[in-house]
């Protein structure tokens, strides 16, 4: 894993490998569907998503309401689309926070080593020591519930993940010949990091992103489930699940639909991540 490098890899063979890779294809298909659902929700939903129509409540799936309606008569399919947007939105920002802060920290720790490395890595140990979701609950409980605070809370826990992954891969690279050559040529550590180290850890960061993305979706659903994430009337998958809880016996689709959506998204992103790792790093592919 630490030997990841794409220098010299033929791009065409990468595409060919991707098309032959079943988990990559399935993962990509699910992820694209999720993305499409989120994008579509900006311009179109079958029904206005927050509109309460009590007389239409608790309808099972039917031709008008494809996935049925909830206890307030809201269209589940519309809520699912907007829920996808909210989940993805929170996940994108949370992962961006992780990459934006974690990757530079990891690169710096690898480049400088010594005291800075120790401080940064012990710091991430410290963050790792807290159960992520519990602390996210704490953060949103203190700063108030809402999607923005959920993004920040989940993002904070992505920082040490990216910092560690980046640092591990980058440190290995610092011992490689092409980096030594660059040092001999007199390039500064910062320049080597940007020109040689970062491009070679990029694929690893991409793979890690898909995994963190899946975890962020799960975390957002968890926070919304306990009422600390996306706030009503904005629908979110976690809140849909929470609302469905006492209605399992009378309207099972209320729980099944958002439940399946969460499972499918997380599964899809994990498959995609798995596939991407193999596609981007042919050497690992052969070992399995």
């Amino acid at each position: 894993m630490s030997e990841t490098a794409i220098d010299g890899v033929n791009r065409r063979s990468m595409v060919a490998r991707a098309l032959r890779h079943p988990s990559f294809l399935i993962g990509a298909a699910i992820t694209l569907t999720l993305l499409a659902a989120a994008l579509v929700s900006f311009v179109w939903t079958p029904f206005p998503v927050a509109e309460v129509v009590i007389r239409d409540r608790l309808q099972p799936p039917n031709p008008v309401h494809w996935l049925g309606t909830d206890a307030f008569g809201r269209d589940i399919f519309s809520m699912l689309l907007v829920g996808a947007r909210n989940s993805l939105g929170v996940a994108v920002v949370a992962v961006a926070i992780g990459i934006g802060i974690g990757v530079p920290l990891g690169l710096a720790a690898a480049a400088e080593g010594g005291l800075l490395d120790s401080i940064l890595m012990r710091g991430s140990d410290l963050v790792f020591a807290f159960p992520a979701l519990v602390t996210a609950v704490m953060i949103t409980a203190i700063f108030g519930p809402g999607a923005i605070n959920a993004m920040i809370a989940i993002g904070i826990f992505n920082v040490p993940v990216f910092a560690r992954v980046t640092r591990g891969a980058a440190r290995a690279l610092w011992g490689r010949e092409f980096v030594l050559a660059a040092r001999v040529a007199g390039k500064t550590r910062a320049r080597i990091t940007v020109e040689h180290v970062l491009p070679n850890v990029a694929s690893l960061i991409i793979v890690q992103s898909t995994i963190q993305f899946a975890l962020a979706i799960l975390a957002e659903a968890g926070l919304s489930y306990v009422g600390l994430g996306t706030q009503p009337p904005m629908p979110s998958w976690g809140k849909m699940l929470a609302d469905a809880q006492t209605m399992m016996a009378i309207a099972p689709w209320l729980a099944i639909v958002p439940g399946l959506a969460i499972v499918a998204s997380v599964l899809g992103l994990n498959l995609l991540g798995d596939g991407l790792r193999d596609v981007l790093d042919p050497r690992l592919d052969r070992t399995r």
Binding site: A50, V52, R55, Q231, P232, P233, T246
Partner: protein, 494 residues
Amino acid sequence: MRRTVHALAAGLVLAAGLTAPAFAQKTTATIGMRLEPPHLDPTAGAAAAIDEVVYQNVFEGLTRIDADGSVKPGLAESWSISDDGLTYTFQLRDGVTFHDGTGFDAEDVKFSFDRARADESTNAQKRIFEPIEAVTVVDPETVEITLSRPAGSFLFDLGWGDAVIVAAESADTNTTAPVGTGPFKFSRWVKGDSVLLERNEAYWGEPAALTGATFKFVGDPAASLAAMLAGDLDAYPNFPATENLPQFEADPRFAVVVGTSEGETILALNNREKPFADLKVRQAISHAIDRQAIIDGAMFGYGTPIGSHFAPHHPAYEDLTGTYPYALEKARTLLAEAGYPDGFEATMKLPPTTYARRSGEIIASELSKIGITVEIIPVEWAQWLEQVFKGHDFDMTIVSHTEPLDVDIYARDDYYFGYDNPEFDAIIDTLQSEADPKARNALFRQAQDMIAADAVNGFLFQLPKAGVWNAKLKGLWSDAPIQANDLTDVHWAP
């Protein structure tokens, strides 16, 4: 062969062990409650959960409120009232002892009432004791209470949990180790889980049928459902998720009893702040609320629409739901007249009860139709009390007022929704010194009319008391005339 015999014997033993409990009569009951009381002294806190555990079980008052809301003798065997309505003479019961063995007499009554009406008292219902001028011990079994003015509902009020009799020796520790005179003794409090009571074998009256009772606090509606279905709870007198009632009704193991409660559920508006200080805005909001939709959507049809702050089962009740009927066009016109043709933005702080959270989402959607954009802010009870009830920092909130005959809260100075109308205050003043039931009912009607016309709050529905219990458990209250889970008559049917 020998092994077979052993196995058979083991099987028989096992079978006997399994069937035995079915024949043995169960003598305890586990009662589910949504909220855990903050402490256990009903004379020092407003939380309904305190009364729901200890009232009439551990503590008793001079009078007691019966299941139908009538006033019955409690620790006072009988009483007489002077013609001017100012002197009440109570004849106390003989042979009553507190759970710690100390005797009960007139001194305890004097102590309890003097403590409750003292300046430093933390009693949540000081208004009960406000008319009292003096409490005099005539002899150990007779107490005379003189009032400064007639108090129409004095005997009823003395039946409240806030007016129970405590002993001087234990008054200060009642919050954690309550000592009363009731049919049950406090046994143990497992914080965060349950309160255990055991039968008081030295009870002055008919001893309780149950040898013990456990009040178990299950906050989550889904967990409550699971606990009932699994038989972990024998009863849930106030089941939080009405959508599950049909499921219980279809199950012969359970009895479902939907009764009345004193809970007027309102969309409280902060009358002291713009834009809610404007009558037209409040009228517009009332016109925009579709009560039946809220009852159907939030309560699954359980609940009675109300048009004012008054319980429909009371004889003085007037149906005022037609004062501002659901009419969106009218609502929009009123908003425009008030200077908000495009509506406005407002926040709604919702406490964590199912009825509040659900009604809030429906009302937010309804108000959006007349241009009012509502931001929902879910809060926990502690935050609600701090920010909304005490701090008055809110635009709208939804809460059920579960105290009986509490329309007088609209006359309180600086109450959280901030209604200030001297005419209304005058009605309540007259009411408080009026003892004639007919005249009282007429005053109650005036009070209802006035707050309905002023659209002080959005009046939504009377909260049902949805009780679910084991079909064999008998004697629980079907209605909730007062905050209580009286276990005196509760027993298992054979």
